[in-house]
Assembly symmetry: C2
Homo-oligomer: 190 residues x 2
DNA sequence: TGACAAGCCTAAGAGCATTAGGTAAATTCC
DNA sequence: GGAATTTACCTAATGCTCTTAGGCTTGTCA
């Protein structure tokens, strides 16, 4: 009997493919094992179980997304940076819906990959906000507002919450505009 | 053997309690049946299965939330209305986390309770935006932006996405402020 | 070549949703 | 009041899921 030659990385990659082409719920150890040409108990040699797999998938997504956002923000500031980050954020969520869904459950502990990937994400947004010259707690509030807005839009979109035949692109531009105006015009204790 | 005297309403109510005190994932037919003093196949006399139960739970939540928002918005306009709706929205999600989670999967068809409850929700926000005098497509964009912002904040909060020890109330006020400014100041094609 | 670790296997248990078919209680009708 | 019917619940069984235990085989390294 030949070996499949798996490792944790390959398992998570297969899980990501399944999650993004079907859905996160479609990612079962049984289906994943079948896809990898292996029996499901064999997966336990690489991952600690289904929950662990979901955590790894979410952590990988957060890392990927943070990387993409960092690239998008590079060399830009204020509205240009905000727009680039927002577009990249939405694009990632659209093209990786299952992985994006896996990112949602917050990590249990503050150590570990998932948590540090989450911090990376926050750091990128902090960098974008730098141009708006926000200080102390106000910068935190601003990060929360921006995250909430991008996350909420993205989620409503991926869940099919927007049903009217009116341009989602236009709606998203309005959202970015609202954020920019709020950040620039002193809602955050200017 | 005495009867439990269940009906669909009672089953959904028990599911809501379980979802809101533990989590949506904790709502299994087995646990629900145990709680109601019944064997799980008996639930099929009242609901069509687990998916159907989740749909009903989400529909009930949307109806409840829409009702609460309608009350909150009554007699107010612009910032006062927006603030009242936003506070009520967040309060509902905080006190009914499981039900709120059940509301997220959009209904499959446009008929049925879940879809009409969703339309109610949108209608309330449309009413709030009336004071801002938005027309045509711009009103739709505005509804989407407001929904996305409230939804995103609420979800990040309930998933423990905000970890820093800085007031969430303050952050939410900033979010409301940003929305108000955007709605008032012509981001939506004034 | 022999020791050993790594990778995969089968077998088995427990929990889940769901369907099929039977029984007893409540309700309706005469 | 008693019979027929509907309603509410039951047990039994199927097939899926994750997960643990223990064994075999393949590859690596001294």
């Amino acid at each position: 009997m030949p070996r499949a030659g798996l490792d944790a990385e390959a398992v998570v990659t297969a899980a990501a493919e399944l999650a993004d082409t079907e859905s996160l719920e479609a990612v079962t150890l049984a289906r994943l094992a079948h896809r990898l040409g292996v029996r499901s108990p064999s997966l336990y040699g690489h991952i600690a179980g289904l929950d662990d797999l979901r955590r790894r998938l979410g952590a990988r997504g957060a890392r990927e997304l943070a990387g993409a956002l960092t690239v998008a923000a590079a060399g830009r500031s204020r509205l240009a940076a905000l727009r680039a980050v927002a577009e990249t954020y939405r694009e990632y969520a659209r093209s990786h819906p299952g992985t994006y869904a896996a990112m949602q459950r917050a990590p249990d502990d503050d150590s570990g990959e998932a948590a540090s990937a989450g911090r990376e994400l926050v750091a990128v947004i902090v960098a974008v906000l730098d141009g708006y010259a926000l200080r102390g707690d106000e910068a935190i509030h601003a990060v929360r507002v921006v995250r909430a807005a991008l996350h909420g839009f993205t989620l409503l979109e991926s869940e099919g919450g927007f049903r009217l035949p009116i341009s989602l692109e236009d709606s998203y531009q309005r959202l970015i505009g609202v954020l920019d105006r709020g950040l620039a015009d002193g809602v955050f204790a200017g």
